[in-house]
């Protein structure tokens, strides 16, 4: 008895010391140079939030390298506001521009409106381009005129690509009208600008509704290798000129991966019908990312994929495309894809998860039996989807009954034997309903 009490006492006395040591170690690792170790420390600190780490972070963060500083600030965000507020105030009054901006934004969003001064001061300090880019990114959604004015100072011909893009994005998000003449003036001397600068500036003006730089933007897009940097600008544009959309379509020719996916999304957003043919070709692309983007784009465009095209895709050699087509048809109240989805849900393969997921949306009696079978699938994710889908279907088919699969003892994560018994019980109940009628 006394032995046990003694050990508990020792444990009780040791825990704070051990926690202190742990926290110290984690904070040291966070400030280290090994990326993997640093990220592991970040995850542990953010999820466990040890109180002992707070003063250590407050003392060490200003000396950390930039990326560690960024992770450290994210860790602080996880702590209760009242404990972090004094630390943020200290950072805002400190010497690090990065911490000044981060803390200023945090304080402003916590209700301290005068903290804008820190943000403005931090943005005015001379720092390397990477740091400036991060600072501008942090204020991107802070809609305060003083901040926008400070951001506008970074829009000039000597600006690096990253900060310029971040600055213009902020100004667009805030619809900061005074930026328009500044950017227009910058583009007046376009020869002195790099192509990426010209492209982002022209995209900014187009997104702000200015029609004067359409041709310049179209030319830059055709010559560019990367359209992703423009995506956020062009997505916000109220109407894109057809010349720009034609340039985006031309851009697709020799590109791959996410560049193509991003371009397709832009074309679909602006309902550019001349792109439909190209999108249909890309449905069969070997890159799953591209074929999926082509499918989604065509679906988004009213005239892109009609029922007859979708029905043809049900027999595609790619199961994912068949499933997506069946799901799209279901959304149009056409259930012709149901049998194909059932077939794929019963067939082994990596597509089964998606097939079961799609099956659960059909709200049809025919989908119930295959889903009951998948409740006992070897893959836990498939079981989860089957459980979710079946619950959804049954609540629709029997709106006046209270149904709960757990009442049979079913748990998708439970032991296999119990699961089998529960599934047998569900199957029996389903037979009693005069099923599949």
């Amino acid at each position: 008895m006394f032995d046990r009490l003694g050990s508990l006492l020792i444990l009780f006395l040791c825990v704070p010391g051990a926690a202190q040591a742990d926290a110290k170690g984690l904070v040291r690792q966070l400030g280290g140079t090994d990326n993997r170790v640093r990220y592991e420390a970040f995850r542990t600190l953010r999820s466990t939030k040890p109180p002992a780490a707070l003063p250590l972070l407050a003392a060490a963060l200003p000396r950390f390298p930039l990326h560690a500083k960024n992770l450290g600030v994210s860790v602080l965000h996880a702590y209760p506001r009242e404990k972090v507020a004094p630390i943020m105030l200290r950072f805002a009054r400190g010497e690090s521009a990065f911490l000044m901006v981060q803390a200023g934004v945090w304080l402003y969003q916590s209700g301290n409106r005068s903290a804008v001064e820190f943000v403005v001061h931090g943005l005015g300090m001379t720092v390397p381009a990477t740091e400036l880019s991060m600072n501008l990114g942090r204020v991107s959604l802070l809609r305060v005129p003083e901040v926008s004015t400070a951001v506008l100072r970074h829009v000039h011909g000597a600006a690096d690509d990253g900060p310029l893009q971040q600055a213009l994005w902020h100004l667009l998000a805030c619809e900061h009208e005074p930026a328009i003449p500044v950017v227009r003036k910058l583009l007046a001397g376009a020869d002195r600008l790099r192509p990426t600068q010209r492209m982002v500036c022209a995209a900014f003006l187009v997104a702000m509704g200015e029609g004067g730089h359409v041709k310049m933007l179209a030319d830059e897009i055709r010559n560019s290798k990367n359209i992703s940097r423009l995506r956020q600008f062009l997505r916000r544009a109220p109407d894109l000129d057809r010349e720009i959309l034609a340039a985006i379509l031309d851009f697709l020719d020799d590109k791959s991966g996410y560049q193509v996916a991003d371009a397709l999304r832009l074309l679909a957003q602006h309902d550019y019908t001349p792109a439909v043919r190209k999108m249909r070709e890309l449905l069969d692309d070997d890159d799953a990312q591209i074929s999926k983007a082509a499918f989604d784009s065509l679906m988004r465009m009213g005239s892109g994929l009609e029922s007859k095209h979708l029905r043809r895709l049900l027999h595609s050699s790619k199961p994912q495309v068949s499933i997506a087509a069946a799901d799209a048809l279901r959304r149009l109240d056409d259930l012709t894809g149901l049998s194909r989805v059932i077939e794929l849900a019963l067939k082994r393969g990596p597509h089964r998860l998606d097939a079961v997921d799609a099956l659960g949306k059909f709200r049809s009696r025919e989908a119930v039996s295959p889903l009951i079978e998948r409740l006992d699938d070897a893959d836990r994710n498939v079981r989860d989807r089957a459980h979710h889908g079946l619950t959804r279907i049954l609540s629709g088919l029997f709106p006046y009954r209270s149904l709960d699969l757990a009442s049979t003892g079913y748990r998708s994560t439970g032991p296999a034997a119990a699961r089998k018994t529960a599934v047998a019980q569900i199957r029996h109940w389903w037979k009693l309903q005069g099923v599949d009628k």
């Binding site: 619809e175 509704g209 109220p238 949306k361 029997f398 709106p399 009442s407 019980q425 109940w429």
Partner: protein, 565 residues
């Protein structure tokens, strides 16, 4: 296969006949511009139709400062539009006036675009969703035009309030007398909107009447029992409020509709629940077809002419007869807003009447009453059907023909709901309150009522957005009687869809629903709150003022189909 082919041929024929010229020159279709974008509307007004600058003209921007304009960044749109159209505006002077603003005109006509934008921004600083009399402001601004040379135009920017009328005809006369063309940017009205008729107690500006809707009067029977919403009150009509379309017609002006980009997302059920999807439904019939929309467009003639023509229309007369009988039988809340006279129609006060009551928990008696009501509904349905069959070869106003068929469908739906209710009272409700709950096999669970006694019966709706067919596999109370009624409803709905899909009435059918019943329980007793809290809290009572938020409005925050993009 053959049936499908026949249906296709029939659909093609109907689409073809829909494009034939009908009564469109007299209807709202003639004055409503296509599209729903603010850029399109502003370019249409500021830039004019041609590529060259219009001759000398004076344009007054009459802005009704509502929150919708602020949310949709009207000032930014205006600034951009002025910049885009600057070359075409060289001969145009623009003044600014505000609806409900003392003195009306806030900026005399000028070519200074910065001043124009600033004046509009100033007006919108105090934006509120109040009900205002836009027609009085139109008359005041018409009188304020300086000089007599050049074209004169008023652009009323009022996303709402076209339904608060004082005197539309006097306004039209004033505009004509001063040779002013009327244009407006507004949001879609609802089809034959009965919203204000059902709420006569709402406060409105002096001498105004809240009419509502795209038409000169409330043409459709409204307030069907066991419907959570009046379907036509949440079905955008594709046209502006009657008064605005009327002014545009009389002055050879134009109505531009605006819908916020986020407001066109499909939503199966405005109230109630969709049994067949999680909100990812993408029905093609949500998009209005311009040709069909034009065919069923409301008239923009003066009210007395509209009354005369409606009174002479056999389809409308048949519908009105069924409306009177149904409201007399308690199947409808609203009585007709017009009565037949020797000269056509005369307006009368539409009343909210008590309807079939389902509150009691005496289920045997409730089932009997529901069956009796269903029989009465069937009699009215059969009578209307006979009338419509007899009229098949008679040419009437297409809008009223569609409305009569819609009424027939709603009568059938009411029959379905009454049959479901009778079935529920017989098959389900007694088991829910029985002392010994019936044994059930898992995964079914015994119904629980928490030991409380039900106080009554409530209902919700399963929307018809996916059609009637999927309901045939749903386990609903009512047995064979219900299955027969559902089959009849399916036939009617399929036929209706074929003829009136892609129109507001097609959408209205989707937004109606099959009722599902449940118990209601008395509220739990709680300590009453202090009459006067010591300090102010956010739980203080708030007095409702201004215009209520209505769901399904295309220019508001939630769903609503629109034509064009």
């Amino acid at each position: 296969m053959v049936r499908r082919m026949t249906l296709r041929v029939l659909a093609a024929l109907i689409a073809l006949t829909s494009t034939l010229p009908g009564q469109e020159s007299e209807s709202a279709a003639a004055v409503t511009a296509p599209g729903r974008k603010m850029t399109l509307a502003l370019d249409g007004v500021l830039g004019g139709a041609g590529s060259e600058a219009p001759a000398a003209r004076t344009l007054y921007l009459l802005v009704d400062p509502s929150e919708g304009l602020v949310q949709n960044k009207f000032v930014v749109e205006l600034r951009r539009a002025l910049h885009r159209n600057r070359a075409r505006l060289v001969n145009t002077t623009i003044g600014v006036a505000g609806v409900g603003v003392r003195g009306g005109v806030t900026l005399q006509p000028t070519r200074d675009h910065t001043a124009i934008v600033a004046a509009v921004a100033g007006l919108l600083q105090d934006a509120r969703d109040d009900i205002r009399n836009v027609y009085a402001s139109v008359r005041a601004v018409a009188a304020a035009f300086p000089g007599k040379s050049g074209d004169r135009e008023i652009l009323l920017v009022a996303l709402q309030n076209g339904d608060a009328e004082d005197d539309v005809e006097a306004t039209a006369r004033e505009l004509e007398r001063r040779d002013v063309r009327f244009r407006c940017i507004t949001s879609e009205a609802y089809v034959a909107d009965s919203y204000w008729t059902a709420r006569p107690y709402v406060r409105k500006p002096r001498k105004t009447k809240l009419t509502g809707g795209d038409a000169a009067f409330v043409e459709l029977p409204w307030g069907w029992i066991m419907q959570m919403t009046v379907a036509n009150e949440v079905a955008p009509s594709g046209y502006a409020a009657y008064g605005l379309s009327r002014l545009a017609r009389e002055t050879k002006g134009r109505v531009h509709l605006f819908a916020a980009p986020n407001s066109t997302k499909h939503q199966c059920a405005i109230y109630g629940r969709c049994l067949f999807c999680d909100g990812d439904h993408a029905p093609s019939v949500d998009t209005y077809w311009r040709s069909r929309l034009g065919r069923y467009a409301p008239s923009t003639e003066d009210r007395s002419t509209v009354f005369r023509k409606a009174g002479a229309d056999p389809w409308f007369r048949a519908m009105l007869k069924a409306w009177k009988r149904a409201s007399g039988a308690g199947l409808l809340r609203g009585t007709p807003s017009v009565r037949l006279t020797g000269n056509g129609l005369a307006p009368q006060r539409s009343r909210v009447r008590p309807t079939f009551s389902w509150g009691s928990t005496n289920f045997a008696s409730q089932a009997k009453r529901a069956t009796k009501a269903a029989r009465e509904c069937d009699r009215i349905f059969s009578s209307l059907k006979r009338d419509l069959v007899a009229l098949e070869q008679t040419k009437g106003i297409p809008r009223y023909e569609a409305m009569a068929e819609y009424t027939l469908l709603m009568l059938q739906l009411t029959k379905v709901n009454l049959t479901t209710f009778a079935g529920w009272c017989r098959e389900i409700a007694p088991g829910l309150v029985a002392k010994n709950a019936p044994t059930v096999v898992p995964p079914q669970k015994a119904p629980r009522d928490g030991g409380r006694r039900p106080a009554g019966v409530g209902y919700t709706n399963f929307c018809l957005c996916h059609g009637v067919a999927p309901f045939e596999s749903v386990d609903l109370p009512g047995g064979k009687a219900l299955r027969d009624e559902l089959a009849a409803l399916r036939t009617l709905t399929d036929r209706f869809e074929l003829r009136y899909g892609h129109t507001p009435l097609g959408v209205a059918v989707h937004r109606a629903g099959i009722a599902a019943f449940h118990f209601t329980y008395p509220g739990l007793a709680r300590a009453r709150p202090r009459k006067r809290p010591k300090s102010s809290t956010d739980k203080n009572p708030v007095t409702q003022r201004g215009r209520p938020t209505r769901p399904g409005r295309s220019s508001g925050g939630t769903g609503g189909p629109t034509t064009g993009k």
